[in-house]
Symmetry: D2
Subunit: 345 residues, 4 copies
């Protein structure tokens, strides 16, 4: 059994980790920390877990995380980098669901996240936890930087085309839409039901932290300088993410070959589903599941390819991807505990 | 392995059966019939099932349901009673999720459902599939009448009080609220998003088919003539059901004893969760799970007891309860394939 | 022109007052106070008001409210009672949308609202602002206690029956459902979109502040001791309130006479719509309008009468009712500025 | 008074016309036709109109539309072209909210709408009813082709840049999102609450009828061949439309000049609101109002300009725009009856 600790179990990625891990056959939930909720049974805060999770939150001071095999950080940015060095030194593996180790460029991190990086010596070692692109490194990793939700969709959507050298990497557009749970479980006016329901808006158009993360990762697959316009929007739904990606083809290729390119790229992937050409994937087809679905379009047969990508932002976009990484790190089947069928309707 | 057939797999209870049964370790999905969709892969209609269900719909004429061990009817009222006699004669067990066998009073059935009963000889044999009240009969049954969604909440909420003789059975009020999926997957104006969203209304106040079903079942537990006022309402949510039940106490009893009565009644039940006295259960704490939750209240310490009951109308209120019955009928663990944690948020 | 001030313009009742008053032909918006937002143009916070409201928020210290003819308090409980005495002394009329003057029983106020009443000398003078029941007093009032949203529905639903002596006043049940805007524009976890959407729950079942307010008002119309069970619920919609009221008839009366009783009671009311017997009013039929709709039911022809009442909680349940009172107080047509057609769909 | 007839009053654009016209001070509603609902009071179908509209639906055969001054067609495509010739001959003006006269290219119409055009002699005369671009022609028109909802946002967003020759007209991208009411009041599975709620998807990516309409209109303002990629999406909200437009700048221009360009273009427009540079307009800021809001962005200061456009798809995107045209055609103030403040929250 893998002994698991969770730091920050009171947010949405925390409770989603609990949903997945409490049913994982090789996991033993060992500690869930929350300074504020010390002593409160987890199921008192999240009644959905009644009968599934018996643990109480414990103060970080009391929880002996060094006895865990792996610790997940479902925390605000900055927490993992403070605690990771000691845990790693104690032989505990670390999976950070926040951004502390996502950017290899320390200066970029400090600019975008407006904080000093306190564990710069670990940045190089950290493995970017996107199994479809980094599986071998993840298997050997001690420290995982779990990708952002938007970046997962953008990378899995653009990468096959970039690797094949088929598109203008300097002119990528990602028009992305997220359910409200992506904003986290924080008391804020802007995500109140009465503000976010029956409404649609863009946000962060001038610049979003997920742009540098995505650009840096995409740059690995092309010689050309990556130019990415990323526009996130807020959708009045709880879970779900839909990225509509636009790229200009620079070579002649027919639709069947485009489709084959994606099918070949993801043929053996347990959690990427390439749908038939011209499909319109719906976010709800991934609700509660770790599956990400992709479909290709070619409007009017022109030189623009439109890639539609959907996922559950809390599963493949966060907690599910983290568990997928854990499975790889500990040598259990990659899909263990992650085979939930999406909840439809 | 239990070979399972589903008649009517294109509705919401059908696709929910598929979600549950495709992950059930002792089930082999054998046939899913739909006259209209003959030949269509099930996962083409419900992409959430891609990778989980490989079957195609088959016309009822082609599907040899007699090779199944059990057939679920997720059909409009009237279909099961037409096909059940032949299936039972062939040794196939039948679980009807519609109303064909819910009412022991044939005349009442024909009045409320406006159709002739074509298999009256089976009415007596049919077992009402509410495991918490009829477990032993279900184990031995060939033919199950799966309860209505509302009646499940009303019965599990009122029965402990009725059995204990504590309330005025002639004066029961059930103010119930259902998510829209309860109306089924039918093309109708009234349940369009633009009609049902951001809206709340009662319906069927003058009389609803679930009233006679519930009254007849409750009558089993009291000598007094049951009088039930039942008011259903439509809530702008997909899944979920909340019944607010009102009963007048006829005997002195303190809150601790009331609470103990319910805890004792459901102590060993895998799918009934009695929450602490004074709790406010939320429907989302059951979303996608087979759990039903109950909480008791006593406003101002008076003689009215308020019982709050929540469930997922498609799981404990329909498909999950049917699978629970199947488990009992085939001697596998009652909770097998039904241990999903609710999806929260 | 009526010079109007608004204290507390940053909440939902505040912005709703602004929507209504900015289009009111006899109103001149004079001051909108907010200590926190001093100097911010109102339309910067609420872009829906761009082009309709040119005022900026001003600090309460700077705003000279004594120059207004009337001041609305769209504030938390306790603010109006602090400021009303000085305003009244300066000849300014006051309409409080909070609870400071709703309860004639000072001790009850202090118990339920957990604060000392600092203007007890005004409690007796304050007029309860429900025009359908108190029109004449409102016309002469200097100080209005605008009713709570739930109490408006309960009183307009029960009163005709109480006045006629037809029901058991000791056994009233109100099962009420409110849209989330009723919780106000406050940063809280419980009303986040991801918490309140796709969910339904009761709250405050053990006791809610609107119970004593309603009971005290209803008591005016019956000799019998009023006994009221009130259960509020939260509906995943922004606006709208639906009360399902249950009463036991104590006299023989047929449905036509019941219907006539209500039609007579509200025949001349501009904002109460008695629908045909057996109707199911929808909350959306009042969305954005000051109309309240009522429909009567008599399940199975028994002795329980079910009264369905719907309104927009922010209009007839709050800001619209307050404007209706203002119109009466200043002798302009009662429906002036209040004739918006509900937004459907 | 303008005597108004409405053909097809049972859909969402029909009921929205009724909401607006019933409160229009210069309009006398004269006839509302529906073959299916002949004789039914309009307010029986739409209770929101109780007390506002006294008319009943009448069969098209009985209604003498030739007595009207203007007739609105809120009908499926193809109805207006069948009836317009006779009405125009009788001196009645016609405003078609469907597509019959939107495309000047008859072959394109017949290809995209899959029907023969039965009044081709009127195509040339029909005026495209977008007041901001065609005001003078609208004033003189007998026959108005009211624009599609999406095309309104795309044209008002792109046109200032095209007119100024600042962008590459061959490389325009419109990623648009619509509330579900845009799909109309039709009984269909795909727009049921249980299908469309808590979900997001693209549709018609391969080709949508609004692309040729928009391209043809945009072509009027540039010599370059217009190339437009248009991707519509369905948002789980009732009303509201958000277009995220992407264009490549071909000339050096700073942000202040860009902003000035839009502010100058729309300075005198009563229903176009250019927000401060870098704003994120929300659809709800237009809910129920005829206002369209625009905001500009320049990610990373690069050569891509992002234009955000929001409107209420049923008002400025349909019925409100039609009333705006009517006002122009009849010489009443352009904003008469259209000054509703958006409903927020």
């Amino acid at each position: 059994m893998i002994k698991v600790g969770i730091v920050g179990g009171t947010g949405y990625t925390g409770v989603e980790l609990l949903r997945l891990l409490s049913a994982h056959p090789e996991v033993q939930l060992t500690a869930i920390t929350s300074r504020k909720e010390d002593g409160l049974p987890v199921a008192d805060m999240f009644p959905s877990l009644r009968g599934h999770v018996d643990l109480a939150f414990s103060s970080p001071d009391k929880a002996d995380l060094s006895k865990c095999d792996v610790v997940f950080f479902a925390t605000p940015h900055g927490v993992a980098m403070a605690q990771a060095p000691a845990l790693l030194a104690a032989g505990v593996k670390v999976i950070d669901l926040a951004a502390d180790f996502r950017l290899k460029d320390r200066a970029a991190f400090e600019k975008w996240y407006k904080m000093e990086h306190t564990a710069p010596e670990l940045i190089e070692e950290a493995v970017y936890g996107l199994p479809e692109l980094n599986r071998d490194d993840i298997k050997k990793a001690r420290l995982i930087a779990n990708p952002g939700c938007y970046p997962t969709t953008m990378q899995l959507g653009f990468t096959p085309l970039l690797k094949a050298g088929l598109i203008d990497a300097g002119n990528l557009i990602a028009d992305s839409k997220s359910g409200v749970s992506g904003a986290g479980r924080k008391a804020e006016i802007g995500t109140l039901f009465s503000e976010a329901s029956d409404n649609f808006k863009a946000y962060g158009v001038a610049g979003h932290r997920h742009t540098p993360e995505t650009s840096a990762q995409l740059q690995r697959y092309t010689e050309q300088k990556v130019g990415l316009i990323f526009t996130p929007h807020l959708v009045p739904m709880i879970r779900g993410m839909h990225s509509t990606l636009y790229a200009r083809l620079t070579k002649d290729i027919d639709n069947a070959a485009l489709q084959a390119l994606f099918e070949d790229a993801y043929r053996d992937e347990p959690f990427v589903d390439v749908m038939p050409f011209g499909s319109h994937p719906e976010t709800r087809s991934t609700r509660g599941s770790n599956m990400l679905r992709i479909a290709l379009h070619r409007p009017d047969g022109g030189d623009t390819v439109v890639i539609l990508v959907v996922q559950d932002n809390l599963v493949k976009g966060a907690a599910g991807q983290a568990v997928q990484c854990m499975n790889l790190m500990f040598g259990v089947p990659e899909n263990m505990g992650l085979q939930q069928v999406a909840l439809l309707p």
